[in-house]
């Protein structure tokens, strides 16, 4: 003997959870990124698997955006557990990385695919 109504109930709950998730994502798409006026924007270039500048200064406690241009042919991943950022930037492409308001300090980052050469630090002050 089976109890298909329990299956159905689980499935309904699962579908509701999925629908709620999708609705959330859809809402976020419509909301679109907001950019506060006091946001600092810093341009960073990746070339020959190195970041320029490799030392990035941003004001503490304020949001900042890194506009990263990858001039290499291959992809790079801007990776920093300190900044809580993971962002793949394809070859010959640009990407922006949004930093949360940071406490004063030094936050290391690397290009995960070329850790030997691609490294730098964000200094919040």
């Amino acid at each position: 003997m089976t109890f298909p109504n329990h299956d159905r109930r689980g499935a309904v709950l699962g579908r509701s959870a999925l629908a709620a998730g999708l609705a959330l994502v859809a809402g976020l798409i419509i909301a679109a990124p907001l950019r506060a006026d006091d946001t600092t924007i810093v341009s960073v270039v990746i070339e020959n698997h190195r970041f320029t500048p490799s030392e990035i200064h941003v004001p503490a406690k304020k949001p900042a955006v890194l506009e990263i241009e990858n001039r290499d042919a291959t992809a790079e991943e801007f990776d920093s557990s300190a900044l809580k950022v993971e962002k793949v930037i394809a070859g010959h492409a640009k990407g922006s990385v949004r930093l949360r308001p940071l406490d004063p300090g030094r936050y290391r980052f690397t290009g995960e695919y070329h850790e030997d050469s691609a490294k730098g630090v964000v200094i919040a002050e």
């Binding site: 994502v25 557990s81 300190a82 962002k87 394809a90």
Partner: protein, 277 residues
């Protein structure tokens, strides 16, 4: 070679631990091997696609397509894990009983939803696309010889799979009647961790600005880049500097899953008794 080994190992572990938990959680379920294999295959195919179109994906939605994509598939995984836990809370006891009584892993007629296949696929896709991009980058720049890179990658896969297998077999030593309670708990924490990661991507993409301040700093105690830190990050969503919103969503996910599991009645307690006699 070492770079290839380290990075492949790291990504494989992250996906592998999730597969290990899924395999343990579906013990005694019909055709679960095929379901998990399908998830892995779909994940690998998806990873290659994502890697091939990384540039196009990134330029969607005003440059934050990648964040939105990552957040979406993570939330999809959270929904599927929730669904699985709810399903198991009504069927788990019956499956455990069948396993004891019949002494076989095949519990006829008890097919779980496809939920965990999707979870496996998502995990493999996310970590796999990074491996593909990385290895392609090395191959294209020609720094390391192809043979050394292949060897490093293979060793990374073996190492990552080994650690995941340890987790799986470790979980299997848990007595059958306790196993599903443990895996349900693990899946709840896993889902909460993934939801918190999705929040991080949405904050990175600028979609969430509320409560973005860091709640605590615990890198001095356990750094997220350390081996234990990474394991805990993958398994229970440990973060050494979570934002307020991440913490709130983490706790809310646990509350919602636990609440749903509690709301759904256990499948036919009367039937359980009959079968036991």
């Amino acid at each position: 070679m070492l770079a290839a080994l380290v990075i492949v190992f790291r990504e494989i572990i992250e996906a592998g631990l999730i597969v290990g938990i899924v395999l343990a959680a579906t013990r005694g379920v019909e055709r679960r091997g095929a379901l998990v294999a399908c998830g892995i295959a779909a994940g690998v195919a998806g990873a290659c696609l994502v890697a091939a179109f990384a540039g196009e994906l990134a330029s969607l939605f005003a440059g934050s397509g990648q964040e939105l994509f990552n957040a979406s598939i993570l939330l999809l995984a959270v929904a599927m894990l929730t669904w699985h836990n709810v399903w198991m809370s009504s069927h788990g006891r019956a499956i455990a009983r069948d396993m004891r009584n019949v002494g076989t892993e095949v519990a006829a007629g008890r097919r779980p939803p496809l939920a965990l296949t999707v979870v496996v696929g998502v995990a493999v896709l996310r970590e796999g696309s990074e491996i593909v991009l990385f290895l392609y980058g090395i191959a294209a720049s020609g720094g390391t010889s192809a043979a050394a890179m292949t060897l490093g990658g293979l060793l990374g896969v073996l190492g990552g799979a080994g650690v995941s297998a340890l987790l799986y077999f470790g979980l299997l030593t848990i007595p059958t009647h306790r196993l599903f309670a443990v895996t349900s708990g693990l899946i709840t924490l896993l889902a909460a961790g993934l939801a918190a990661q999705a929040v991080a991507f949405l904050q990175q993409g600028g979609y969430i600005e509320l409560m973005s301040a860091t709640v605590w700093h615990s890198a001095w105690l356990l750094h997220e880049d350390s081996v234990l830190g990474r394991l805990l990050h993958t398994l229970i969503g440990y973060s050494d500097a979570p934002s307020g919103m991440q913490l709130a969503v983490y706790l809310a996910t646990i509350a919602v899953i636990t609440g749903l599991m509690w709301l759904v009645p256990s499948a036919g307690p009367g039937r359980d008794k009959q079968a036991a006699e």
